[in-house]
Amino acid sequence: MALITTTAAVDATGVLLADYGRIDHGSAAFSARLRRARLGLIVALTGVVMIFVSFSSAYVVRKGLPTLDPQSGILVHDWLPLQLPSFLLVNTLVLLVSTLTMELARRQAAREALATGIGKSAVSTTSASHKEAQGMPWLALTAVLGLSFLAGQWLVWRELAASGFYVSTNPSSSFFYLLTATHGIHLLGGILTLIAASAAYFWRRLAESRVVVVDITAWYWHFMTFLWVYILCLLEVAH
């Protein structure tokens, strides 16, 4: 599992880690840095997509595939449909709200960037009719919501296990744990980045980096929400 954690860390923060490495000497234009980080994120997300594409195709193949019953020599289906715990809906709601707060945090950071004059046209912002930059701790709120989502997922796994569905019980449960865990680990990478970004906020340094980090994490976060909805649809089709 540590392997996958590393992937997540890379997916979410690797781009940004690198930026931390350079910032002390950084004189590259802010917009160029933001563009490069966003480009890196798109490329990284392509890699993540390929992982989920493989899992999805394995899921579809495995679900539709009959297997040989050695006794009778005929092909049989062994897929037991999994009753998804309804608590998943609560988790989904939490994640949807978090993507909203994440977007607010991103815009907040962008305004902050404008105010301090580090970036001009690079960051898309709406009119400054929102509260001013130091208002709501959107970033921290998002991190908390993200952790709540993971805690909720934990409860879902416990519930499934209690009803006798373990990882190896049936392909349907194997895939459920596989997809949700992989998603969870990716999200955890995002949460760690958010915590790092919040910490940077308090230290009042790396203002430029922080804006880039928040921006990238936000897009990453939105993607993770989208991915979750996709996974839910994929699992729901099982019925």
Binding site: A29, R36, L178
Partner: protein, 581 residues
């Protein structure tokens, strides 16, 4: 994305480190990381080569007792071939051309001070190095290294009791590959972003040297392929250790029910080869790019059909994702699907043929200088043709019935993916050594090395085609059991002797490499009179590659023998050529 737009990276992004650790071990400098990758691959290639020698010895003298090793048992032979294949494919053919030379020269050739994400770059190397250590550790655990071949087909690779080495050894093997995938993904991310976003002013995509194109396309292939292998590996680990049944159906092993049911062994093959076929191009594309470059440089002639070369590489990369099924003609896949894969596979031969024509077109009416890198580039073309020509046999399911899993396949992929790529690596070493170490390599030693390698590898791998036609199956640790193999033993013996000579020849290279670092003739900034940007900077390049000023590109990468020019080459940074073409 950022074509023509000059991203302001006037100063180098990170200052030159002063401590030894930051300078040589955990360095952020793409040049140091490139060399780290190179020396990792160099270590790996000698390990892999020795393993192959042990295999060849075992085939001819099955009961020989070897110093430091002891007797080779049938299962040891299978462990050797598994580790030989895995190490060579991942830690040599994927690592040296892309991680090594790509890291070192991609930024310099496009006029960038470094890779886009230096920390990530460092991380990708160290993850790869860790993966190599984990891989080697498989030799030293109970049961030894796995015996399931580099393709690791389950159920053999998924069941702990399927044979010696399928216990902890096989787990380490899967974990190592998963780690390698992570490193390769990080590296691909860096290469793609760097190529798209960090090109110097004037360096349009169509002015990039073909080497850069090949690294760029290879990175895209890696990005799309390694994620799939990682996923496949995770499923295999779960099947092995968590009792799931992704790949394993109901089977009995050693008279015991294995406890799985319903899984599909073919699922692994699909996922593995979806990665595995692009992997072939990951290994060969950088060599193609480099040899195109060298043929132009040393024929003193522009590359024949630059655009055709770029489009050929792009279409090879694109088609490479649609042909994986040709590894599975005999696997139980639908014969209709097999036929479709067959047509796609034959189609991929077309861009490969275009490249060969263009290489011949490049040296045609040139003025060839027989330097050591040029010799290896010419050897590459010869090997590429020889290895490629057996492809259309294997791509047709009708002929694959007879040839599948025989030595014909082994000969085919060793010539084209193994030896041809390694000739690319040798060519790159001889070509860029002066820039990397500030000295020239010894030319006479290099020529000995070249002729021994060329003749030797042909002597090893060409006879494999004859063996394959006669029905000699691969991965047979002894030739005693099947009667029809007995007549083929003399050919096997010949190949083993050829292997001894060829491997001895590689030590000439090793000696030359280290000797020249210390005692080679001092190299000038542009010893080959080449046009690309790495030859404009000092030897070796400074920390930020260009000593504070950023290059501006005015010309294409292959302007040799331009009529009316003062010398027979016009560098990319020279004032623009008057005429447009």
């Amino acid at each position: 994305m950022a074509t023509g737009e000059f991203a302001a990276h006037a100063a180098h992004a990170h200052a030159a480190p002063t401590s030894w650790i930051r300078k040589y071990v955990f360095s952020l400098d793409h040049k140091v990381i490139g060399m780290q990758y190179y020396f990792l691959a160099l270590t790996a290639v000698f390990v892999g080569m020795i393993l192959s020698l042990l295999m060849r010895i075992h085939l001819i003298w099955p009961s020989a007792t070897l110093p430091f090793w002891g007797e080779i048992k049938p299962e040891t032979y299978l462990s050797l071939l598994t580790m030989h294949g895995t190490i060579m494919v991942f830690f040599v053919l994927t690592t040296a051309p892309q991680g090594g030379f790509g890291n070192y020269f991609l930024p310099i050739q496009i006029g960038a001070p470094d890779m886009a994400f230096p920390v990530l770059n460092m991380l990708s190397f160290w993850v790869t190095a860790l993966a190599f250590i984990v891989m080697l550790a498989a030799f030293f655990v109970v049961g030894g290294a796995p015996l399931h071949g580099w393709t690791g087909y389950p159920p053999l690779s998924a069941l702990q009791s399927a044979g010696p080495g399928e216990g902890l050894g096989a787990d380490l093997w899967v974990i190592s590959i998963a780690l390698f995938c992570l490193g390769a993904l990080m590296s691909a991310l860096n290469f793609i972003t760097t190529t798209l976003d960090m090109r110097a002013k004037g360096m349009t995509m169509m002015r990039m040297p073909l080497t850069c194109w090949s690294w760029f396309i290879t990175a895209i292939l890696g990005l799309l392929a390694f994620g799939v292998l990682l996923s496949a590996g995770i499923l295999l680990l779960l099947d092995r250790n968590a009792g799931t049944s992704f790949y394993v159906p109901l089977v009995t092993i050693n008279g015991q029910l294995a406890g799985h049911k319903g899984g599909s062994p073919l699922l692994w093959q699909h996922l593995f080869w979806f990665f595995g076929h692009p992997e072939v191009y990951i290994a060969i594309l950088p060599a193609m790019g480099l040899c195109s470059q060298l043929l132009s440089v040393f024929s003193r002639k522009p590359i024949f059909g630059y655009k055709a070369m770029v489009y050929a590489m792009l279409s090879i990369g694109f088609l490479g994702f649609m042909v994986w099924g040709h590894h599975m003609f005999m696997s139980g896949m639908s014969p209709y699907t097999a036929f479709a894969f067959s047509i796609m596979t034959m189609a991929i031969g077309v861009p490969s043929a275009i490249k060969t024509f263009n290489w011949l077109g490049t040296i045609w009416r040139g003025r060839i200088r027989f330097t050591s890198p040029m010799l290896f580039a010419l050897g590459f073309v010869s090997l590429f043709v020889s290895g490629g020509i057996s492809g259309p046999f294997l791509a047709q399911p009708v002929l694959d019935i007879q040839l599948h899993d025989t030595y014909f396949v082994v000969g085919h992929f060793h010539l084209i993916m193994g030896v041809a790529s390694i000739f690319g690596i040798f060519a790159a070493t001889y070509y860029w050594f002066p820039k990397m170490f500030g000295r020239m390599m010894n030319e006479s030693l290099a020529r000995w090395h070249f002729f021994i390698s060329l003749i030797g590898t042909y002597a090893i791998f060409m006879p494999m085609h004859y063996l394959g036609m006669a029905g000699h199956l691969r991965r047979y640790s002894q030739l005693t059991e099947l009667n029809y193999l007995h007549g083929l033993v003399p050919l096997q013996t010949f190949m083993t002797y050829a292997a001894f000579v060829t491997i001895a020849g590689q030590f000439i290279f090793l000696f030359n490499l280290f000797w020249s670092m210390k005692f080679g003739k001092k190299a000038s900034d542009n010893p080959w009179e080449a046009t690309t940007i790495e030859w404009t900077t000092t030897t070796p390049p400074p920390h930020d590659n260009f000593g504070g000023h950023m290059p501006v590109v005015n010309n294409g990468p292959y302007e040799y023998s331009v009529p009316g020019a003062p010398r027979d080459y016009v560098m990319q940074t020279d004032p623009p050529l008057a005429k447009a073409h």
